[in-house]
């Protein structure tokens, strides 16, 4: 049961602190997100700059970049994902403990970017793993990454702990492992995980078709 803000302030003046479990739980979650020390391409340089003194990501409780996926909560996909690297990215994500979050940083990570039509470039990591926040830019400035981080914090803060919208680690039915694509003879197999990247199909079916209809 939520506490009315006005009442909460009034009680605070009297020296009484009132909160809810979800509020204090999410407050703890959002202020200790540990990113994984993991860079893929040039966006990683901006990510490094974000953690250094000038931009200082530590102000948001995310100063500890962990070199092991077991100790990290946040995966910042910073750069181009090649098809050769994609299985490793998915595997690292699978190895992270719940609760875990993903920020896709930069044009390449969200769509393939300028290399979209390259033979070895994955057209966005959201084909294989769920992404919480997308940042456009090539590369995004550190401010943009900080904004993405604050957006992620706001999302965590607003997340209910019960019901359909609850986080994955509180849902016994939810699947935390995502299939790692195989490197086939011509492409990754499967080329996309339809569970996280469904086709925008329904509107299309009504249109007249020439070849396949």
């Amino acid at each position: 049961m939520a506490v009315e803000p006005d009442l909460k302030i009034e009680l605070g003046k009297q020296g009484v602190f009132v909160t809810t479990v979800s509020e204090i739980y999410n407050w703890g979650r959002k202020n200790s997100v540990w990113p994984m020390q993991f860079g893929l391409a040039c966006c990683a340089i901006e990510m490094i700059a974000t953690t250094m003194a000038r931009y200082d990501l530590a102000r948001f409780g995310a100063e500890v970049f962990r070199p092991s996926p077991r100790q990290a909560d946040l995966m910042i996909i910073s750069g181009t994902i090649t098809k050769k690297m994609a299985p490793q990215v998915v595997r690292l994500y699978n190895q992270m403990a719940e609760p875990k979050y993903v920020i896709a940083m930069g044009a390449c990570a969200i769509s393939g970017g300028p290399f979209k039509q390259g033979y070895n470039v994955l057209k966005g990591i959201d084909r294989y793993i769920p992404v919480d926040v997308h940042i456009p830019g090539c590369p995004p400035r550190p401010e943009a990454l900080i904004h993405a981080f604050m957006t992620l914090q706001a999302r965590i803060d607003a997340q209910p702990l019960t019901g359909a919208e609850r986080p994955r680690h509180l849902d016994a039915e939810a699947q935390g492992l995502f299939p790692v694509p195989e490197q086939g003879a011509h492409d990754l197999e499967p080329p996309v995980n339809r569970l996280v990247w469904p086709l925008p199909a329904p509107a299309a079916a009504a249109e007249p078709t020439e070849k396949h209809g």
């Binding site: 490197q183 003879a185 199909a201 249109e207």
Partner: protein
């Protein structure tokens, strides 16, 4: 620095049996090159490196070129007997000139430093065709810096370098079968709908949409 013709003359003097020719580039860039028969390539490369006047001890770049099969249409005049009278008839004849793969090496001299005119000595060699006879001798034993670049040529163009110490794919994974930099490479259709689709992409978007409609 010697010109391409002078280098060829020097090679002929040192290696009388080597088949080398100077390929002149008539454009303003005038980047002439030496074309060598694969069988003589290692000997010629060794000469270019060790010759005291040339001293080409640095291979800065090795790359590949794909020359696909070319269809040539020619007009040929033949004499034919038409209605008992011998006349000259022009006929259009099509023939297919087989393609080949080419490896290109850019050579400099560290020993002699900058040259005038500046620029690399370009060494080229061709395979017999693009399908089954794609072997070329590796020049890695001569210039160590060619190792990774020859692996890249092998990966992206499919030229097999005999005598290479470690010929594996370098950019693509080991199980990959295509050669993406060949002109006839068709990339997998992993295209998805996007809001800013255009031109060729728009056509593929329509096809994919239609396909999705069938599957759904």
């Amino acid at each position: 620095m010697k010109t391409a013709e002078e280098i060829v003359a020097a090679i002929k003097l040192a290696l009388p049996d080597a088949k080398v020719e100077a390929v002149l580039n008539p454009s303003p860039s005038a980047q002439h090159s030496l074309r060598v028969v694969p069988g003589d390539a290692v000997a010629v490369a060794g000469f270019l490196r060790e010759d005291p006047q040339l001293g080409l001890d640095y291979c800065s770049n090795a790359t590949g070129v794909d020359w696909p099969d070319k269809e040539i249409t020619e007009k040929v005049k033949t004499t034919k007997v038409v209605d008992g009278v011998e006349t000259v008839v022009e006929e259009t004849v099509k023939r297919v000139e087989p393609g080949y793969l080419e490896a290109v090496y850019h050579l400099f001299s560290m020993k002699h430093g900058p040259t005038d005119p500046a620029g690399p000595v370009v060494l080229r060699m061709r395979t017999i065709n693009r399908s089954d006879q794609v072997e070329l001798p590796s020049l890695t034993p001569v210039w160590r810096s060619a190792e990774f670049q020859e692996r890249e040529i092998f990966d992206l163009f499919g030229i097999v370098f005999t005598g290479h110490p470690d010929l594996r794919r370098i950019l693509m994974w080991d199980g990959f079968e295509d050669h993406p930099m060949r002109r006839d490479y068709v990339d997998p259709d992993d295209y998805e709908y996007e809001p800013t689709a255009h031109d060729e992409v728009l056509k593929r978007a329509a096809e994919q949409k239609a396909h999705a409609g069938v599957e759904a």
